[in-house]
Symmetry: C2
Subunit: 155 residues, 2 copies
């Protein structure tokens, strides 16, 4: 019995799974980028920033916003400046600490993001439409287990 | 019967699946970045470039290399310059067209990448170790179906 071969096989199998997950993720992300740009002349970091602000009707501080956007990166201040010029967001003094700047979507910003978000959901539903609902549910559950496994290791 | 509500529910479910997939992907990628940097002072684009060259013992042209690295981006020429200075790769004239530059790992480059690749497989196996082999296999198959679904839409 060659234990080392078995360990190597196990590793290869995990690696293949990870590379397939990464491929799926990059494929979908690439499509979302293309569609956002093509239909709304919007970048992915801009879309993600809008999504964060949309969820927080009361607004967010620049610090909280930056923390939430670590995933996609992008220059938060630069994107916020641009969105302010486009009339999509406003900067206000925070209600509890006037020295803190709070960022908030304008009604126009909320309206335009809602339109993009609906389109985005449609693209995703289309891209994932080739697998049946039962399999999508299985995939969702298995990815939940994966997330738990990874999070336990990261801690 | 409200069809629109059902459509919206279907979209939400696909969106939730995509966001969970993206979260898993970013979590694992983040861990790989951290570990590469911590153990080998290596960036992810540098690791990916080495991986491509390792697979092609005969070497690759700069153009082919750039095409294969679209996923992670990074400045291919800058990374290649750095790796050449570190004695990890050499630039040669291509055997069939002397005007074309072919890039190839040195024996040192191959040795050092092999060491990193082994560690990388170990990290991935560790991160994915919290789910049983049968579930990993199911996940692998379902992601295969997802890849097919996405690819069919992209075409």
């Amino acid at each position: 019995m060659d234990y080392e071969t078995r360990i190597a096989d196990h590793d290869h199998e995990a690696l293949r799974l990870w590379l397939r997950l990464l491929t799926c993720s990059k494929l979908i992300e690439g499509e979302v980028r293309r569609a956002l740009h093509g239909e709304f002349e919007c970048t992915l970091p801009r879309f993600d920033l809008l999504a964060q602000l949309y969820r927080e009707e009361g607004g967010l501080s620049m610090g909280d916003l930056s923390k939430r956007l670590m995933v996609t990166g992008g220059n938060v201040t630069g994107i916020a400046d641009q969105l302010e010029r486009d009339g999509m967001l406003v900067r206000n003094a925070a209600p509890l600490d006037r020295r803190q700047v709070q960022i908030q979507l304008t009604p126009k910003g909320r309206r335009e993001f809602a339109r993009m978000a609906r389109a985005h959901e449609g693209w995703i539903a289309g891209l994932l439409g080739g697998i049946c609902e039962a399999d999508r549910r299985r995939l969702y559950d298995l990815l939940g287990a994966l997330k738990t496994s990874v999070a336990a290791q990261v801690r």
